[in-house]
């Protein structure tokens, strides 16, 4: 037998297609595995850090909050409105969301106001990319 007839008779096309597919699959899997090895090594190297983080999860309310910052009068006024918005969003909150909401509500100069809040520590970061309302500053303001 010769030609295409011989190829068909011996299932040559099937063997070739499956064969080359297996070669590709093997090397693709190997390349995927190889590409992850250095990442896994990186994770292994930082295992103690991750373990510590898991062992002692940082509570959001645990961090030391400064309470002796002076708060300007106009900021005090604006803070009431912003506090309502923050209560509505819930704590901890993302800063862009507060900004967006304050713009939608038509509050005046939300960018600079929020900036002032951060400067006088009325809004403080929680070290996880979110922010919280500093109740201690607020209480101090009320007592004053």
């Amino acid at each position: 037998m010769f030609g295409f007839e011989a190829i068909i008779a011996h299932d040559g096309l099937g063997i070739s297609v499956i064969g080359i597919s297996i070669v590709f699959v093997s090397l693709i899997l190997l390349s995927l595995a190889v590409s992850q090895v250095h990442k896994l090594i990186g994770l292994w190297d930082k295992r103690n850090t991750y373990y510590q983080r898991l062992k002692k999860p940082q509570k959001r309310g645990d961090q030391k909050i400064p309470s002796d910052m002076p708060v300007p009068q106009d900021i005090r006024r604006a803070s009431r409105q912003f506090k309502l918005l923050i209560e509505w969003i819930g704590e901890p909150f993302p800063l862009p969301k507060l900004l967006d909401l304050s713009e939608k509500c038509g509050l005046s100069s939300p960018h600079s106001t929020i900036n002032e809040f951060i400067k006088c520590k009325l809004i403080i970061p929680d070290d996880n990319g979110y922010y919280m309302w500093n109740k201690q500053i607020e209480e101090k303001r009320s007592n004053a």
Binding site: A6, G19, I20, V23, S26, L27, S31, V34
Partner: protein, 376 residues
């Protein structure tokens, strides 16, 4: 006394020689010339060439001299070829010699090593089409892997009587890589593509290099268990090299052991090309298909690299696709040579080593697949 002298003379090579011996002796001399004068893979061609001379000295049959006569020295040494002892040992040495860093730094280049194996399966189809039975067609196809030990390994399993022509074809084409590949590479690439400079590969840590042979071995041999003898030894050799703590073993594997096995393999493969076995129509078919296989493998690698460039953000020089045909490190050197002919400041050698080494793995997997299918 006169009769004794006449009998002696009638048993000399001069009396027994026929034209086929002369042809094969000339082939042997040409191969030695290519190895010595042109320095085409001299480590392989010189032993093979001299083996051809040994195998083609006309001797009388049943005197226990020929490689195919049981009990002869050559027959004992040939046992390592017919029973697949030498190829895995060569792979052990290759593993202990090879630095996989460039491949680990950019694993996507391993796909080029897979693409070049298309030549094996295309030639398998071609061999079937011209009338070879499937087992012989598979052995002929593997020449396209450009990997001598792999070709011998598969042929010893599937078509032992073709070991001579297939091994000589595989090693000859491996040696002729600098002649065969450049025209195909230039034909399939534009000047702009040949000028592409690839970015420096990232640094690979020692631990990655140690983990790789273990992961690679487990993954490949779970997928293609028939590749166990070749890939097992390849990855083991590489582990010896990378783990550092067994430097003595690694040094032996990459120097003395591979040298000894290369001598035994080369001489016996050469000697197996006795004129009456070698000079047949089939051998001409095998050499023709071998060249075809090599050309297709080279072209597949280059074309696949061009296809990859359509999707990759960091472009690769398609010339390195040609290195997917194993032939370590000759085809990588050819890539460097062709690349530097266009731009002397372009260094492609280390990039080409990635497909080159993955081509070795790919061709071993292809051989395992063919062996598995033919054994079903």
């Amino acid at each position: 006394m006169e009769d004794l002298l006449i009998e002696f003379l009638s048993n000399t090579g001069f009396a027994l020689v026929d034209y086929r011996n002369i042809i094969m002796l000339l082939v042997g001399i040409i191969i030695i010339y290519l190895g010595v004068a042109k320095q085409y893979e001299p480590l392989l061609l010189v032993p093979i060439g001299f083996g051809i001379l040994i195998g083609n000295i006309p001797v009388f049959k049943d005197f226990g001299l020929g490689i195919y006569e049981s009990g002869s020295f050559l027959n004992y040494v040939y046992y390592g070829v017919t029973h697949d002892i030498y190829p895995p040992l060569i792979f052990l040495g290759i593993g202990a010699l090879t630095d996989f860093s460039t491949m680990l730094a950019r694993p996507v280049l391993m796909l080029l090593g897979a693409a070049a194996q298309i030549g094996i399966f295309t030639t398998f189809l071609g061999a079937l089409a011209i009338g070879f039975p499937p087992n012989e067609a598979a052995s002929i196809g593997i020449i396209g892997g450009a990997d001598g030990p792999t070709a011998i390994f598969l042929t010893a399993m599937l078509a032992p009587r073709l070991i001579g022509p297939i091994a000589v074809a595989a090693y000859s084409y491996m040696a002729l890589v600098p002649v065969i590949q450049p025209p195909i590479m230039r034909l399939l690439t534009t000047r702009k593509e040949r000028l592409i400079k690839m970015e420096e590969p990232r640094e690979v840590s020692k631990r990655e290099k140690i983990i790789f042979p273990i992961v690679g071995f487990l993954l490949c041999c779970f997928l293609a268990p028939a590749a166990l003898p070749l890939l097992g030894m390849l990855f083991f050799g590489n582990l010896l090299k990378e783990c550092v703590v067994v430097e003595r073993l690694a040094r032996t594997a990459r120097t003395s052991l591979i040298d000894i096995v290369t001598i035994l393999l080369g001489v016996t493969v050469g000697a197996s090309t006795q004129a009456d076995v070698f000079l047949t129509r089939q051998s001409i078919g095998i050499f023709t298909l071998g060249a075809f296989s090599f050309a297709i493998a080279t072209a597949s690698g280059v074309i696949f690299a061009k296809i990859m460039n359509l999707f990759l953000r960091k472009k690769i020089n398609p010339l390195i696709g040609a290195a997917g045909v194993s032939a370590v490190p000759n085809s990588a050197r050819v890539v460097q040579m062709v690349g530097q002919a266009e731009d002397p400041t372009n260094f492609l050698l280390m990039h080409a080593m990635a497909p080159n080494i993955s081509g070795v793995i790919g061709s071993a997997i292809a051989a395992a697949i063919l062996w598995s299918f033919m054994s079903l």
